[in-house]
Amino acid sequence: MTAATAPYPHHARRGRAHPLFAAALLAVTVAAAGVAGAAAWRHHAEARQAELAHWQRLASTAADADALARLAHAAAAGETAARAALGETLLGRADGPSRADGERWLRLAADNGNVRAHFVLGKAALLGQLPTGKPDLPRAWTHLEAAARAGDAPAAYYLGLLCRGGYGRAADPAAAVRWLTVAADGGVAQAMFLLANAYREGEGVARDDARAVGWYEAAAEREHPASIQALAMAYRNGELGLTRDDGEYRQHMAEAAHALRHPALTP
């Protein structure tokens, strides 16, 4: 859409220019063409990402062989993002050979700096979802740190868990709070919940009921059932500096029940 419209102002501008300003016009034209070119390139990259994401959705949720073949073709041609998409798709399958293949493509993409591939591998390594079926904590740390440092909020969430629980290293509650904050700022509701718990308990951060309530509420707005329930309980019992309020309690209970049918998804 933007590709088709982006060049238009440039042509319009050129049509109105006076010949005396030819040099200036040339500069403007070159600059405008540059801008339009960058926009077109950006659009092209976005369109390609959307296309890969579309194939990945079809290949994973609809088991579409044609979409998988397209991903495989692009991956074989060396496209890093396609390798990540193909790898993630295959790693999510049930059979061993597909999963091993998936890990291989993800590694290739991660070696090329693909953030999503780092995240997928790191999460799988933490949760024991690599083809070995066992957790690989050193790899979890490596991949999740790489992705989190690149600004990936889901990776920051899992890195926060690693810091919180230790997972092969000494637990570091303060670092956990830092990474969970990155994830929470990035919209991860489960990170908001754990961050609220940390403020509530004073774990890795100074105890602060008001901030705890703030994060529970932020997660509640994203339909995170446990956060809504925490607020319900607090209104029932007068916890977290909240005044006991039967109306708020019942309202939050009803919302928690409702949210359970479509909980905020953990990345």
Binding site: M1, A50, A53, H54, R57, L58, T61, A62, A63, D64, D66, L126, L127, G133, L161, R164, G165, G187, Q190, F193, L194, N197, A198, R200, E201, E203, A218, E221, P225, A226, Q229, A230, A232, M233, R236, N237, E239, M253, E255, A256, A257, H258, L260, R261, H262, P263, L265, T266
Partner: protein
Amino acid sequence: MVVCSSRNCHGTDALDSDNALRSSTPTKNNATRESETMQQRIFRLRSVTLATLLAGAMAIMAACGSEDSAGNGNGGGTPSALVPAGTTATLALLETTDLHTNVRSYDYFKLAEDKSLGFERVATLIKTARQEFPNSLLLDNGDTIQGTALSDYQALVKPIACGETLAMYKVMNDAGYDGGGIGNHEFNYGLPYLSQVTGSRFNVDGLPDPGTQTACAGPKFPQVLANVYSARTHAPLFQPYAILTRQVTATGPDGKAVTAPLKVGIIGFAPPAILSWDKRWLDGKVYTEGLVETAEKYIPEMRAKGADLIVVISHGGLDASAYSPTMENGSYHLSKVAGVDAMLIGHSHQIFPDAASTVAQFNLPGVDKVRGTVNGVPTVMANYWGKHLGVINLALAYDGTRWSVDRANTKVQARSIQNADKTYVAPDAAVAAAIDAEHQATIQYVKTPIGTTDYRMSSYFADVGDPGAIQIVNMAQAKYVKDYIAANLPALASLPVLSVSAPFKSGFGGGNDYTDVSAGNLAINNAADLYLYPNTVYAVKVNGDEVKAWLETAAKRFNQINPALTTDQPLISTFPGYNFDMFTSADIAYEIDVTQPVGSRIKNLTYLGNPVTSAMTFIVATNNYRASGGGNFPGLDGTKTVYASPDANRDVLISYIKNAANVTRTAHGSARSWRFTQVTTAGKVVFSSGVGMLQQAVDAGLANISLDKADDGSGKNLSQYRIDLSL
């Protein structure tokens, strides 16, 4: 149909039959058919190369579009020559959303009226609005067929027959809805059910060929959903859009009333996350497309078919973060798609417009929460459960070739069923009358005994060892998880399955704040007393050390007792009772030594008589709150979950009781996994519980409890009891 074969043009039987069933006017019938046939064709050509596909689709689009226009004489966006330029009109879009089968103003758990909600009251607002506005369309946003005991009754308890219409759709048919969207909750009971009750014939895996299906009774208005597709056919599950042609009363440039035809295109969207939320029903059967891509695909098509206006019915809220095709609340980005004239949104259970709203999604750049616009597009969200009616009164102007929305004179409102004086509008009596049989049957169902108990199941002494109200929950959870693992997770089948639960009601609110179920019949509503919270069952995999750490945290429930003190010592700390997780099984045993500091209280923890060690692995059944980190228990951070069930703990308990039929103290209320480490104290150790409840401790076999003070002095209707820790 000359260019296309009839097979090509009417290929999707499900959609086509929908069409025939729902069409109330020939024009609408043709309009919707056009959209469906296009889908069909595009799908049919998928296997060809991209270039061929595009060329083919465009050729067919041109051929069929023009042909259908010629056929019905009003297509192609050509306005009637009778309407002069300068004509103006208004069109009120009336929205309901997230009704969740709250037909009556009634709470089926309390078995009592609840005037603050219910379609029967919104129906009154609809009548009023129709009197107020000369031209209106009544549209529903979805999340319509699930959410109360009534919906469960019709879906699960006594599933409605093919020829019957759901109570919710029945009253919507009576109210004369013009169209509806599909929300995420429509998928909660599975695709066969959704296909049946909407009068569809889905062409998806798990259902027979549409040609052999019978189209059942359903809504008499078109239901639109553009971004959910059958994995089998790659065609939309529902018709993606419909074009409603209405004769509207307008005002000519001379000020005189004229009648003008208006074609309103409605297009529906559901949150792509349905694939995760209802994975068990949808996995591999349907897939979703992004909202923006879908809108960009269909809106030009709708315009080409003559739609004067495009009304988006988006079951999702506003989220201004970067667009993604899987984002849950995509309505903010939809507002920026060219050609969108108005948006009816929902899903978030909020009110928009609302000048006082503090909700983050209504305080974004481009969102005018006073006027009710999103990036300039008039938008309404009508709360939930039939508490509000959304109204967008579009001001329309005709310039001789097309209608356009005069945004400056368009007004958006969310109208409450509550009056300014806090009373509620009267219900429309016809609504209750239309579904009285279904309503009464649901009440009977809620009251029907699901089993009996031979003992009074209470939590008055749960803190000091009575498992009477907790063990049945643990037994139900353990059995449910064990069965699931045996059937679905063979790799875990060799691991022992344990269960924990806590006394959710343990007196914090006073003498009435305890679980207390009388001996005798157990009904559905007793289950809410035995399991207070709306949780779902989760199973976590933990090792022996993690089990011990879990119990150490739970044991914070108690103060540290100094045996040498001669003064009274309160046993119960400020640690909430709802976090006092406990096992209640003969297989696992432990002591809680309250003379020790927090973290060193669990002693002699054994499983089947053997000490529990880090080398042992267990599956522990619990709930979503605990498994995802609620209560901040060490190690429980969401990563240990091996099964996140969609089933509610309370429903699992109900089905366990139904299966057991007779609940007994011996079998379901006497397994004490834990006891206090014995210690003689110089002074009294005391705690509070309900007044006059000592017999409950006696009946539970707790011989070390005595009444200390009839009134504990808290003013909360509690007595003070003493526990002798040496016994």
